[in-house]
Amino acid sequence: MDFFERFMIPHPSPAIYAAMVAIVLTSIAIVVGLTYFKKWGYLWREWITTVDHKKIGIMYLISALLMLFRGGVDALMMRAQTAVPENALLDAQHYNEIFTTHGIVMIIFMAMAFIIALMNFVIPLQIGARDVAFPRLNAVSFWLYFMGAMLFNLSFVIGGSPSSGWTSYFPLAGDELSPSVGTNYYMLALQISGLGTLITGINFIVTILKMRAPGMTLMKMPMFTWSGLITNVIIVFAFPVLTVALAMGTMDRLFATNFFTTTDGGMDMLWANLFWVWGHPEVYILILPAFGIYSEVISTFSRRNLYGYNSMVASMVIISLLSFVVWVHHFFTMGQGAMVNSIFSITTMAIAIPTGIKIFNWLLTMWKGKIQFTVPMLYSLGFIPIFTIGGVTGVMLGMSAADYQYHNTMFLVAHFHLVIIPGVVFAMIAGLTYWWPKMFGFMLNERIGRWAFGFIAGGTCLAFFPMFISGLDGQARRMYTYSESTGFGFWNMLSFIGALGLAVGFILIVYNIYYSTRYASRDIGDDPWNARSLEWATHNPVPEYNFAITPQVNSSQAFWDSKKNGHTLFKGGYKEIHMPNNSGVPFVMSVFFFIFGFAFVFSMWITAVVSLIGIFACMLHRSFEKDHGHHISVAEIERTESELRGARNE
């Protein structure tokens, strides 16, 4: 019986039992549905084994949206619990679990997946490539991320969720103070999906450096591709730090080592240090692609070239370096002297300079432009003021002397949400709406989209601005309740109403997807936005090989030049195209990783070893496999192209 007791939830509640039942019922429904409609083969052939960057991008997108709703429900429950003083909706333990999973799910499994989804779909198209450099590894990346996300979410119903915050500071996260397996899940799930992210990083750097269309020098790359390059550079150098920190944390919990303990020389602060050595660059991993999306959207809908291209690139390069030297500002109050804090204060404030340059570049791009208020543009316009408020309060927090006042209060919570939501979430929705026609062949409804924007922008302001005030009044973050005499009640109620507004906005987006899928016109041409970069030069829907003829590029706006200045993108005739083969190995290997992670969480060592052998067997299979891909014949290209109405510039 002991064996099974470990899998029980330590603090069960009706909500968790309901979730268990819902998960079982949904799983049964999916299995029955797939069997009834005979879709297993389709799912395996077209999706699970695919190495096509476009399909992998769409799978990332679906996963990210699912995680958005998981994290969103956590957020709503938090705001509901604190909406009134002395509320008893959740107890302290549940509240702890929810703010922990909210943070991890939103950062790692939602935002990361969302940016990687868009990078996957868009970057190869923007640089005129047929796929990424290592298509098979791309599938490995996705499935590792997916299995990591599933493992993390499993903690909710088997064994208990982590509850020591998304930062999992030791000694709280050690096995003495967090005895349930929740934090094991945290360590293993992040480790597995982090591995996938690292592989993505390497893959995209090589793709961007080696697979650009002829004529596209580095300084002629579209801005989203530039931001992708810099982001992946940061990924490659930041994620190994997380790998090491998580491995050390796992060993502390499972093998009684003494890295972060408070006995035998262990140093709990080292965890905080390593976590933020990764954690701060991570912030820029999320924000830089968002900046790239805004650059594309603002330039397209202002009908102007991006202002200050060179300074945009330079500021991103500077941000990528500075992002690695500011991490101490996350724990100014935890024991360093004035000297150290001053150094990191200065580096922190320095990073506002390149960011400010970008803001002015966007404003100057719009200056005298013919602005079209489409939904992606609305998000970009909403982003600038809200993000600036979030950003300048960050400079306040960055002053180490003043930080003693703000640290760990709701002021901080307001700051980072007002950076991340307009910075990342708005950009994701803008990018989703902008590239949606390229992905699915129809446009999202503009009217519903505008309503959704209204609710989301208004909800964001209403939810987070009051936290500045309650934070300065002394409300600490992560408190599950407070007494009426504190006076926090009013501000928290406003936040709750704002959170409801956000929820309505996201529901409207889902409704928009449903509505547009049913009713939107499929006859939109290849370039519905009158856009500027190469992804719009191929067909809707994009054929498997992306471009029948490799495009010739002459500027950072090659497609715009081909439309306005008579530049010829596609020269010459069709040639045979070489494409990679599908493979089930990435999926199978990731399943082994999932089993490995699960076994590790519950210290089932035999299972762990067996699954590790399975992982190595998959690698061995790949090494000895003779896979030279397949070729698409000229006749087949001609057939596809004539179906898609022929290449544009012939």
Binding site: V241, L270, V328
Partner: protein
């Protein structure tokens, strides 16, 4: 047989042995901590550069710019992380 042992590689190997012997001096001889650490820093980084250029052929391909950037970037960030961590965790910790 001789063509299998190019002079560049043999010299590289000899030089790396010399560097190792020099590093060993800090163990054999009695010297100040600062001097010893300086010697170790010089020999270790020289050794790393030797491997990189002579044995790993870092500069031979069309991608040498990207390769050197990646390695230098890694080294710079790693060194900043090491010193930043020491600064925050030991030297500046009160």
């Amino acid at each position: 047989m001789k063509e299998l042992f190019p002079i560049k590689h043999v010299m590289g190997f000899v030089f790396s042995l010399i560097l190792t012997s020099v590093a060993l001096l800090v163990y054999i001889l009695d010297m100040s901590f600062a001097l010893g650490l300086t010697i170790l820093l010089i020999t270790a980084f020289a050794q790393a550069a030797l491997q990189l250029v002579v044995f790993m052929h870092a500069g031979e391909s069309e991608d040498k710019g990207a390769i050197y950037t990646s390695v230098y970037y890694g080294i710079i960030i790693a060194v900043l992380t090491v010193f930043g961590t020491l600064l925050a965790m030991i030297w500046g910790y009160v």
